[in-house]
């Protein structure tokens, strides 16, 4: 439905986006995930037509968009700062796009109320947008973007300003709404939890490129490189070397080559997931440096005899300074 072909964009003389290609299918929600400054918003603005790429094409429903101005693209967008029109009330804000389409009064009225009900703001039509709570303003902005029924709806970190609890609740709700009406959506965020909860597929943007594209489960099970792994909070990464005899050499010792996923190349890393480490009577000696209770389990940071730090999960609390032995069940290999 939406196809990005080799999009390249510079910012202040330095490359910001390089050769970005991405396809979004009808009815799909794709998250664009990346740290701030990675060019996510710029990519969104290029699709919207608010900025022009130096190279590359945006193809939307088979049509090249290069010469189509933003207001003729039929793409909706929800801005980070919401950009609610301060001089219009809730009804007028939501009705704006419908009026631009030249719809009849009665139909506009019906569609606005229908959309407000959809986002849970029935009865808010006559309210002043400046006097709404943060969450309510988000919903107005969503309703305003949904009302003209765009064929693609883009979100630029729309929940960034809200506190965590409200954000989690709104993400679930937003996904439900989008799925109910079968909307195709592109959702930009720097928050991994938000992206995973929202999207059918996630594209991770790093250093001008999309470094990984896949379903949340695919990405979590097989991060493409150390950047993605760290971004997901998987920090037990150790330089590794593949031997010809089918073993892997790391600073923590030798391991058997994992059954799947053998990236080639000179610099590979061993990823050790905390849940893959058991405490045993023999094995790698390590000293407990820190132990905190988090999400139903204890998370401990340990320093191994080889001088490597790693994070492990345990059922029981570990005494600080105690020496324990670790048995690493499996490792995975990923690219740097």
């Amino acid at each position: 439905m939406l196809e990005l072909v080799n999009i390249t964009k510079q910012y202040a003389g330095a490359p910001l986006l390089h050769d970005i290609s991405l396809t979004i299918h009808a009815g799909e929600i794709v998250s664009l995930l990346g740290p701030s400054g990675s060019g996510k918003t710029t990519l969104l603005r290029i699709i919207a037509g608010l900025e022009q790429p130096e190279q590359g094409e945006v193809i939307f429903e088979g049509r090249h968009l290069r010469d189509v101005p933003p207001h003729r693209r039929g793409i909706g967008m929800m801005f980070q700062d919401l950009a609610l029109f301060p001089h219009k009330n809730v009804f007028e804000n939501v009705a704006f796009g419908l009026r631009m389409q030249g719809l009849a009064r009665a139909e506009i009225r019906a569609r606005v109320h229908e959309t407000l009900t959809l986002v849970g703001l029935a009865g808010f039509a006559e309210r002043d947008v400046n006097n709404l709570s943060g969450g309510e303003q988000q919903r107005v902005a969503l309703a305003r973007a949904l009302a003209p029924r765009p064929r693609l709806l883009m979100f630029d970190e729309p929940l960034g300003a809200l506190d965590r609890l409200l954000r989690e609740q709104l993400v679930t709700e937003l996904r439900a709404i989008l799925k109910r009406i079968g909307m195709t959506a592109l959702y930009v965020t720097h928050d991994q939890d938000e992206a995973f909860a929202m999207a059918d597929r996630v594209a991770i943007l790093h250093a001008t490129r999309i470094v990984q594209l896949g379903t949340p489960a695919e990405i979590y099970r097989a991060p493409a490189n150390t950047f993605v792994a760290q971004f997901l909070g998987l920090t037990n990464l150790f330089p590794a070397r593949q031997r010809d005899d089918g073993t892997v050499e790391t600073g923590l010792g030798e391991f058997a080559l994992p059954p799947t996923g053998h990236p080639g190349g000179p610099s590979v890393y061993a990823l050790i997931r905390p849940e893959r480490v058991r405490i045993s009577t023999t094995g790698i000696a390590a000293q407990v440096e820190e132990c905190v209770f988090r999400a139903g389990k204890y998370r401990a940071r340990v320093l191994t005899a080889q001088g490597a730090r790693m994070t492990i999960e345990t059922e029981n609390a570990l005494a600080l300074g105690a020496t324990i032995h670790l048995h690493i069940q499996t490792i995975e290999l990923i690219q740097e």
């Binding site: 608010l50 207001h71 700062d81 029109f85 301060p86």
Partner: protein
């Protein structure tokens, strides 16, 4: 075309601001005026004027800060019913024309004032017992009355965002209430206090109408002296030199004020006001706050109310008198014509100031990080200059530079436009800037063409701001006194001029007319301010 338009406000300022200031400079430094100018520095009379100017301003400022500080605290920290209304009420004296304030204090405390009349009746006295007219006391009272809200707004505004936890932390660490205030709150409040005090000082330093009317013939500030030297003695070199001294002082003070204001903007981990306010709890607290607020309302409202009440004393005959052209009247026209003149000047000022202000605001709109940001910031400062220049100086500069136009009514309109222009720019600019590029983009994304975006987003938002600016210009013009006194034609007096003239005349009938005219001016001003408050989007700022 666009740049031609952008040049208009600059041309206006160069012709009607910088050129007149240049004329003042030239007159003061001209060789043939050297003797007259030297007089300013040798005659002890002028030293006394300067000392009085600074002295009364300092005293007024200190008293204003002291008296308004509790109000700042109460409105910042306590949540009580009617707080918003009371706070809005305190602005009334400040937005009133100084001539109205002066009349109000005459009407209340003068020999023919309501308090004296009441005391005379009560105790069967022949003479008015309260004789503070033409003394420092009544000037101080009027200045405190006028500037009370400035301290309340600046200090209170800052205070209401100050995290009370800082003071609580000090208390927990063992400080008494007094020590916590002295060591924690006061130092944090200091920049706001200083800024407020400085602004009040500037207003008092250039005080004109209040001193002219309440101070009588013996007391004069620099501002009043410039006026007298020009109008009564026609001693232009001395007036020019005094203007120059005053200009240097006000510019220096304004510069310090802007610096301070920039420092105030520094984030201090401020908190939203609602989390800071709490309801009045203990009975003692309630009584003290209620007593203070009652005294505040009495002090700020009685003078204004007494004008209105006294103006109707004679069953409306004072108003009827306004329409009559008495042979022995000094005006040769019925006083009501002043109302017509003022309305005419104000309308012309609105058109001129609003157009120039709109153009100036759009020329300053450029985004902060653009290549043009330095020139734009400079221009912004230049546009604000008339604000830091006293009205009498502006009028005096007009006489020197544009003396040939003396008979023209254009001078009044131009002077009023000059005074109103910075207000209009300040009313429009933040709004023009607030139309974030995002709003335009959002409209575009919803299917609005560029023309449609301008019509739906820019136009309605700017129109509102322009209306605010226009009403500002209107009220400023209606109440303008200092510059008008110098440049207006005697046969075309404005309302403030007419009030001044009838006040100077003996007899109860004349005083009554002053009251009636003041009531009219007060009503017009109050309506204007009400309209501004209604139209304004977002928070008011100083």
């Amino acid at each position: 075309m666009r740049y031609f338009l952008y040049a208009l406000p600059i041309v206006f300022l160069v012709t009607f601001y910088f050129y007149p200031l240049g004329a003042i400079l030239q007159t003061s430094f001209a060789r043939e005026n050297a003797r007259a100018v030297a007089e300013v520095f040798t005659d002890p009379y002028y030293a006394r004027v300067l000392v009085f100017t600074i002295g009364q301003a300092t005293l007024s400022t200190l008293l204003t800060v002291l008296i308004a500080l509790p109000a700042a605290y109460i409105f910042a920290r306590y949540d009580f019913r009617g707080a918003a209304l009371l706070r809005a009420m305190t602005t009334l004296p400040f937005v009133m024309p100084t001539i109205v304030v002066a009349t109000a204090f005459s009407a209340l405390l003068g020999p023919r004032g309501s308090i004296n009349l009441a005391l005379m009746q009560l105790f069967q006295l022949e003479q008015p017992p309260l004789r503070i007219m033409h003394t420092l006391t009544i000037i101080l009272l009027a200045h405190i009355f006028y500037n009370f809200t400035v301290v309340l707004r600046i200090v209170g505004g800052f205070w209401s965002n100050l995290d009370p936890q800082l003071e609580h932390a000090a208390r927990v660490l063992g400080a008494t209430r007094a020590r916590a205030f002295w060591h924690i709150t006061l130092p944090l409040l200091a920049p706001a206090l200083l800024a407020a005090a400085l602004l009040v000082f500037i207003f008092n330093f250039t005080s004109f109408g209040i001193i002219l009317i309440l101070g009588g013939a013996r007391l004069a500030t620099l501002e009043v002296e410039i006026y007298r030297q020009t109008v009564n003695l026609f001693n232009l070199p001395v007036a020019a030199t005094l203007s120059l001294i005053q200009l240097i002082c006000t510019f220096a003070l304004t510069l310090i004020y802007t610096r301070l204001q920039a420092r105030l903007a520094r984030p201090l981990r401020l908190r939203p006001q609602t989390t800071v306010r709490r309801p009045l709890a203990r009975a003692r607290e309630k009584i003290v706050v209620a007593l203070y607020l009652a005294a505040m309302v009495l002090f700020l409202m009685t003078p204004l109310v007494s004008i209105v009440v006294a103006s109707f004393e004679d069953g409306g005959s004072y108003y009827a008198e306004l329409f009559i052209n008495r042979r022995d009247s000094i005006m040769y026209v019925p006083p009501i014509e002043a109302v017509r003149n003022s309305l005419f000047f104000a309308s012309a000022t609105v058109i001129l100031a609003a157009s120039l202000g709109l153009i100036a605001a759009y020329s300053l709109e450029q985004r902060q990080h653009s290549r043009m940001s330095v020139p734009v910031r400079l221009l912004d400062a230049v546009y604000m200059l008339p604000l830091g220049t006293s009205a009498v100086t502006l009028g005096f500069g007009f006489i020197l530079a544009l003396g040939g136009w003396r008979a023209s009514i254009a001078l009044v309109i131009l002077a009023h436009t000059l005074v109103a222009f910075p207000f209009v720019v300040r009313a429009i600019l933040p709004i023009v800037r607030s139309i974030a590029p995002r709003l335009r983009e959002a409209a575009q994304m919803l299917g609005a063409s560029p023309e449609r975006v301008w019509r739906e987003i820019d136009l309605p938002i700017v129109t509102r701001a322009l209306l605010v600016g226009a009403v500002f210009a209107f009220t400023v013009s209606m109440g303008e006194f200092g510059a008008t006194m110098l440049v207006a034609r005697p046969d075309l007096p404005t309302i403030p001029m007419a009030i001044y003239r009838v006040l100077a005349q003996p007899g109860l009938a004349n005083f009554g007319q002053a009251l009636a005219l003041s009531t009219i001016l007060m009503g017009v001003t109050a309506l204007g301010i009400l309209a501004v408050e209604r139209l304004r989007v977002g928070e008011a700022e100083f």
